[in-house]
C-alpha cells in the first residue's frame, strides 16, 4: 500500500530528475512513454472493476491479457520475452499482489510504476481511490468520477507523454463494486532515472 511517506519519496526523487536525465547515456532506455497507448493491458478476471476496464479497452482497440490473480503465465510466456528486447508501457487493474510482482520484475528491465490508484473499500459501501503519479495523469484520473473503468481504459489507450517533474496525490470517492481483494489501477512504463536496465 502506498502512503504519504512513499509519495514524498517519489516527489523528492522526482525533484532531482533534470540533472539525472541529462546524465543518461545515449543507449539507455527511452526516457518515458512518448504519448502512445499501452502495449499491454492486464485485467483481473475476478474483479468487476477490472472486467469493465477490460471491456472498454477492447472497445478502444486494445487486446487485454486476462489473469486470475497469478501473473506467472503472462510474465513467463509474454512479458519476460518482450522485456528482454526492451522496456514497454503497460496498464492494468489487478490485485495489489499482482502489481507487486510486476513492479518487482519490471525494475530489472528499466521500468517502474508511474501511476497507481489504490481502490480502498470504505465501510459505508463506497470506493476511496487514492491516486499517486504525475500531475497530468492524476488530474485526468480525478475527472473519471463514477466512470473509473471507462476513464482508465481511455487513459491506457492514449497515454499522454509522461512527465515526472511534478507529482501529485489525490483522494476521490465513488460507488463501489464487489471486489475479490485490494485492487489497484496502475501504469508501468520506462523510467528515465534508471541509467540502464540490468537484464538482457
Amino acid at each position: 500500500m502506498s502512503n504519504r511517506r512513499e509519495f514524498l519519496q517519489m516527489s523528492l526523487a522526482a525533484s532531482a530528475l533534470p540533472a539525472i536525465v541529462a546524465a543518461r547515456p545515449e543507449n539507455a532506455a527511452p526516457s518515458s512513454n512518448e504519448g502512445v497507448g499501452s502495449s499491454h493491458v492486464i485485467v483481473e478476471t475476478m474483479s468487476p472493476l477490472a472486467l469493465a476496464f477490460g471491456e472498454e479497452a477492447v472497445r478502444l482497440g486494445l487486446k487485454p491479457h486476462r489473469i486470475k490473480d497469478d501473473i506467472t503465465d503472462l510474465w513467463f510466456h509474454t512479458l519476460d520475452l518482450q522485456w528482454k528486447r526492451g522496456p514497454a508501457t503497460l496498464a492494468g487493474i489487478t490485485l495489489s499482489t499482482s502489481l507487486f510482482c510486476l513492479e518487482t520484475l519490471a525494475r530489472d528491465y528499466g521500468m517502474r510504476v508511474w501511476f497507481k490508484a489504490i481502490h480502498n473499500c470504505l465501510a459505508g459501501g463506497g470506493f476511496e481511490h487514492f491516486l499517486v503519479g504525475p500531475d497530468s495523469l492524476v488530474r485526468q484520473a480525478a475527472a473519471f468520477g463514477g466512470q473509473w473503468s471507462v476513464g482508465f481504459a481511455g487513459m491506457a489507450a492514449s497515454l499522454p507523454p509522461l512527465d515526472s517533474s511534478k507529482w501529485l496525490e489525490k483522494t476521490l470517492e465513488s460507488a463501489r463494486t464487489r471486489e475479490p481483494g485490494p485492487m489497484v489501477s496502475w501504469i508501468i512504463a520506462p523510467w528515465p532515472r534508471i541509467q540502464s536496465y540490468l537484464v538482457s
Binding site: M1, E6, A13, D69, D70, I71, C101, G181, Q195, L198
Partner: protein, 539 residues
C-alpha cells in the same frame, strides 16, 4: 545517499570513478532513486532511522570485473554487499547489514554455462533465476528438473547461498546441499574454484563435490568470505510419473507415529517432500466456528475436547500428504507400501491424490502444486495464499524460522512452547494445537512463522521486532536455532550459537581477519564483523 563509514566524500567519488572504469559508467548507480531500489521491500524499520540504506550499486558482467571491483573496494576501504537477483523477501531482500555499503549487483551475470541431462547437473552464474533455467531446459527439451523455491524469480546461486529450500525430492530441495562446485572472487580479488574445479581441465566440477583437501564451500554460504560467480548444481532426472496420497490420523498424539512413518519413507528415498497438515485448521487454515469457541475457552480447549471435535466432524486431527516420483508402476507400488507403513495407526484413513504421467496436461499443471513438480511460478502471492489468520495481507513479513527435530514429539512441544511465548507477550498467537512444521529441509523441520511488517505503522513494526526477538530467544532456550534470518536479527541469532564461549564465532572472525583484512565484503553478515567494527558492534 548514505556514505560508507569512515569514507569521505572525495574518496567515495574517486572510488565510484574507478568502479565506472571497471564495469562501464552505465553500470554504476548512484542516484537516490536508483539506490532506493536496494532497500528491503519488507523492511522492519520502514521509515525509521535504523533502516539500512546503500550508497551505490555496481553491476559487473564477468568474474574478472567482479575481481576489479573488489580490488578497488579494498583500495578505498569501501564495504560491498554482493547480491544475485536480490529478492530474498522476508529475509532482508537486497539490503546489506551495514548502511553505506555498495551493492554488488550480479544480475547481469546471467549465463547458463552448462546443463547436462545425461549426468544431471547444471553450472550457472548468479543472475540466473529459476525461471531462466526452466525456460532453457524447456526450450532445449532437456530431461532434468531443478528443484524450485517459492516464488521462482530468485537466483539459484543466491537461494542456495542463503540456504534456501524447495519442494521436491530428497536432498535436491536443500539447495546448498545439492550444489556442487563454486567459482569465487576472494576479497583480495583473486579468483578461486573449489572442489574438482581447482583441477585445470577437470571433467567433473559439478558432479563430485570435494576434489582433494579441505572442503571450503560452506564458508561462502551465509558468509562474507568472497563473491560467488559460478556454481554447479545436481539436478533430478525428469521422472516418468508423479503420484500423491494423503494419510489422515484421528488423535493429536498420532502425529508421533505419523512423522516416524514419514521419516522412514523419506529417508529411504521412497517419497519426496512430506507435507503435514491438520484437517482442523493447520498451517494457515481456519478453525471452524465451533472449534474457535472451544479454543477461546479460558485456558484453551483440552486435547480430549479437540479430539472429540475431530471425531464428531469426521475430519481427523493431522494429515500427511506423500509424493512419489518415478516410473508409473513404481509410484503406484510405493503408495501401496506407504499405506502398509501407516496401517498400524488406529483409525488411520487413506485418500488417493493426484496422478500425473509426464508431460502434464495444461489441466493437470493448473491443478498441481507446481513447485513440487519443478515448475517455477509466483502463485505464492495469489489470493489463495492468504490465510484465515491473515485475510488482509500486510505490506510484508519477517520469517521466524527455527529448526526443530523431525519428530512428532518436537512438533507438539513447539506448539506448546510458542503458544505460550505469544501469551507471555499478550499477543494473538500464530500457533495453534494444529500447527505443523514446514518440511523443506531433508533431515529437520522448520517451525516457520511469518510476522507482519507495515510501511505505514512504525509502532506495529516495533512490536513485531520485539516479538521476533522474543521468539528467537525462546526457541534457543529449547535448543531450536534459526536457519536463516533478516539482517536485523542476524547478530542475535548467531550470538546464540555460543557453544564453548562462542568458539564458532571466534573461528569465523579469525578466518575473516585472514581472508578479508579490510573487511570489505558483507560486513556484519550473520554476525561476522570486520575487525575494526567488531567491538563497537558487539557493544
Amino acid at each position: 545517499m548514505a556514505l560508507p563509514p569512515d569514507v569521505n566524500a572525495k574518496a567515495f567519488a574517486d572510488a565510484i570513478k574507478q568502479f565506472q572504469g571497471a564495469v562501464g559508467k552505465d553500470w554504476v548507480f548512484t542516484s537516490d532513486d536508483d539506490v532506493a531500489l536496494y532497500k528491503d521491500a519488507y523492511s522492519p524499520f520502514w521509515g525509521e532511522k535504523e533502516e539500512i540504506l546503500v550508497s551505490a550499486a555496481v553491476a559487473p558482467n564477468t568474474a574478472e570485473e567482479v575481481s576489479q571491483v573488489v580490488r578497488i573496494a579494498n583500495t578505498f576501504r569501501i564495504p560491498i554487499y554482493p547480491i544475485s537477483t536480490g529478492k530474498n523477501l522476508g529475509y532482508g531482500g537486497s539490503a546489506p547489514n551495514l548502511s553505506g555499503s555498495v551493492v554488488l549487483d550480479l544480475k547481469r551475470m546471467n549465463r547458463i554455462i552448462e546443463v547436462d541431462d545425461k549426468r544431471h547437473f547444471a553450472i550457472v552464474e548468479p543472475g540466473v533465476a529459476y525461471f531462466d533455467l526452466y525456460r532453457h531446459m524447456q526450450e532445449k527439451g532437456l530431461k532434468v528438473w531443478a528443484d524450485v523455491p517459492d516464488p521462482g524469480w530468485g537466483s539459484l546461486i543466491g537461494n542456495a547461498l542463503d540456504h534456501g529450500v524447495g519442494y521436491g525430492f530428497g536432498g535436491f530441495r536443500d539447495h546448498f546441499y545439492s550444489h556442487c562446485g563454486m567459482e569465487v572472487v576472494l576479497p583480495n580479488g583473486e579468483i578461486v574454484r573449489t572442489g574438482m574445479g581447482a583441477l585445470p581441465g577437470a571433467k567433473t566440477w559439478a558432479e563430485y563435490h570435494y576434489g582433494a583437501g579441505p572442503y571450503v564451500d560452506g564458508l561462502f554460504s551465509q558468509g562474507n568470505f568472497g563473491v560467488v560467480t559460478k556454481m554447479g548444481f545436481h539436478l533430478l532426472p525428469a521422472p516418468e510419473a508423479y503420484l500423491t496420497g494423503t494419510v489422515i490420523v484421528p488423535k493429536r498424539s498420532d502425529i508421533i507415529p505419523l512423522v516416524e512413518g514419514g521419516n522412514r519413507l523419506e529417508h529411504a528415498g521412497v517419497i519426496g517432500m512430506p507435507e503435514y497438515g491438520s484437517p482442523l485448521g493447520g498451517f494457515g487454515g481456519p478453525p471452524d466456528p465451533e472449534l474457535r469457541s472451544l479454543l477461546a475457552k479460558p485456558g484453551g480447549a483440552s486435547v480430549a475436547e479437540l479430539e472429540q471435535h475431530a471425531e464428531k466432524t469426521n475430519r481427523g486431527f493431522f494429515s500427511l500428504t506423500v509424493q512419489f516420483y518415478g516410473g508409473e508402476k513404481v509410484v503406484r507400488a510405493q503408495w501401496e507400501y506407504a499405506k502398509e507403513v501407516f496401517a498400524g495407526i488406529r483409525g488411520v484413513k487413506f485418500n488417493a491424490g493426484d496422478f500425473i504421467k509426464f508431460p502434464a496436461t495444461p489441466e493437470q499443471l493448473e491443478k498441481a502444486h507446481k513447485v513440487a513438480i519443478g515448475v517455477p511460478n509466483m502463485s505464492i502471492f495469489t489470493i489463495g495464499a492468504r490465510s484465515a489468520f491473515n485475510p488482509s495481507p500486510t505490506d510484508g513479513h519477517l520469517w521466524f524460522s527455527p529448526i526443530i527435530p523431525k519428530s512428532g514429539e518436537a512438533v507438539l512441544e513447539a506448539q506448546d512452547v510458542f503458544m505460550k511465548a505469544f501469551r507471555d507477550l499478550n499477543m494473538p498467537s500464530l500457533v495453534s494445537p494444529f500447527s505443523v512444521p514446514a518440511t523443506w529441509m531433508f533431515r529437520a523441520f522448520v517451525f516457520i512463522m511469518g510476522l507482519p511488517v507495515y510501511r505505514n505503522n512504525i509502532e506495529q513494526n516495533k512490536k513485531t521486532r520485539e516479538l521476533v526477538k522474543h521468539l528467537i530467544q525462546v526457541g534457543a532456550d529449547h535448543g531450536w536455532g534459526e536457519y536463516r534470518t533478516p539482517p536485523a536479527f542476524q547478530q542475535q541469532v548467531t550470538d546464540l550459537y555460543s557453544f564453548n564461549n562462542h568458539a564458532l564465532r571466534r573461528l569465523h572472525e579469525t578466518l575473516k581477519d585472514a581472508v578479508d583484512p579490510n573487511g570489505i565484503i558483507s560486513a556484519g553478515r550473520y554476525g561476522i564483523w570486520p575487525k575494526q567494527m567488531r567491538e563497537q558492534r558487539k557493544a
